[in-house]
């Protein structure tokens, strides 16, 4: 919306109020002067109207720019990951962030002693203690 449109809208309001004052018995000059006083600072009002339009346009531009930057970052990141093995053949083995890496399972513990071996081991310690106490 251009300045001419803003001015047309404001002038229409002042003219309507002027007409009302004339219909109430005022001279056209007095009526217009009063209508302008009642409206206030025309330039200040038009500035506020421009700011109201500009603010929302600025918000729209910022939102668009942010979305473009985010899209560009995502595209660059995804395309670099896709092309990485071609450009750097060795990089295919490098774990990438945000990617599940399949690790080998941890080594399982070997088989333990059989029951007979365990009992024999325990009895060995027990026998030793008993021998000591017998010596005393």
């Amino acid at each position: 919306m251009g300045d001419d449109d803003l001015h047309t809208e404001v002038q229409f309001h002042i003219d309507m109020r002027t007409e009302r004052h004339v219909n109430a018995g005022m001279t056209p000059e007095d009526a217009e002067a009063l209508a302008r006083r009642q409206f206030g600072d025309v330039e200040a009002v038009m500035n506020a109207m421009r700011r109201a339009r500009l603010r929302s346009s600025r918000i729209a531009v910022i939102a668009l720019a942010s979305a473009s930057i985010i899209a560009a970052v995502i595209w660059t990141y995804s395309s670099s990951l896709a092309n990485a093995p071609v450009v750097f053949p060795g990089i295919a083995d490098v774990p990438r962030p945000m990617q599940f890496v399949k690790r080998p399972p941890p080594p399982r513990p070997g088989p333990g002693p059989t029951w007979e071996e365990f009992v024999a081991k325990v009895n060995t310690f027990g026998d030793g203690k008993r021998e000591k106490s017998r010596r005393r």
């Binding site: 919306m1 449109d5 047309t8 809208e9 404001v10 229409f12 309001h13 003219d15 309507m16 109020r17 007409e19 009642q38 409206f39 206030g40 600072d41 200040a44 009002v45 506020a48 109207m49 700011r51 109201a52 339009r53 603010r55 929302s56 346009s57």
Partner: protein
């Protein structure tokens, strides 16, 4: 970020404008909106033109009202405003907030 007083005043202006446009069967220009509020309030409320037009443009940009150029009753080029579907939803919310505000003030003025 505006002060609470400013937010409150801006909210009440939005409420009055949206209610005026919702009650009208046809689009209204700014002068008709101020005239309508002035008459319905029995001269108690007078909308400042300096606040009305920036508010109209802000609400137009927000999508709560739609605007287009037309020809006035005296054959002048004028900008007409009408409430949108989003504006009606906004109006419902503002009316509820206003009712809650009035209830709260009443509770303070006349404690049970």
């Amino acid at each position: 970020m505006g002060t609470p007083k400013r937010d409150h005043l801006q909210g009440s202006l939005d409420l009055l404008v949206l209610r005026t446009l919702a009650s009208s069967r046809e689009p209204l220009h700014g002068y008709a909106i101020t005239d309508h509020i002035h008459r319905l309030s029995k001269d108690a409320l007078r909308v400042e033109e300096g606040s009305l037009y920036p508010a109209l443009h802000r609400m137009d940009e927000a999508g709560w009202i739609r605007s287009e150029w037309g020809v006035s009753e005296n054959n002048r080029r004028a900008r007409y405003y009408a409430i949108s579907a989003a504006g009606r939803r906004r109006l419902t919310r503002l009316e509820q907030e206003w009712a809650d505000h009035i209830k709260a003030v009443k509770r303070v003025l006349r404690p049970a």
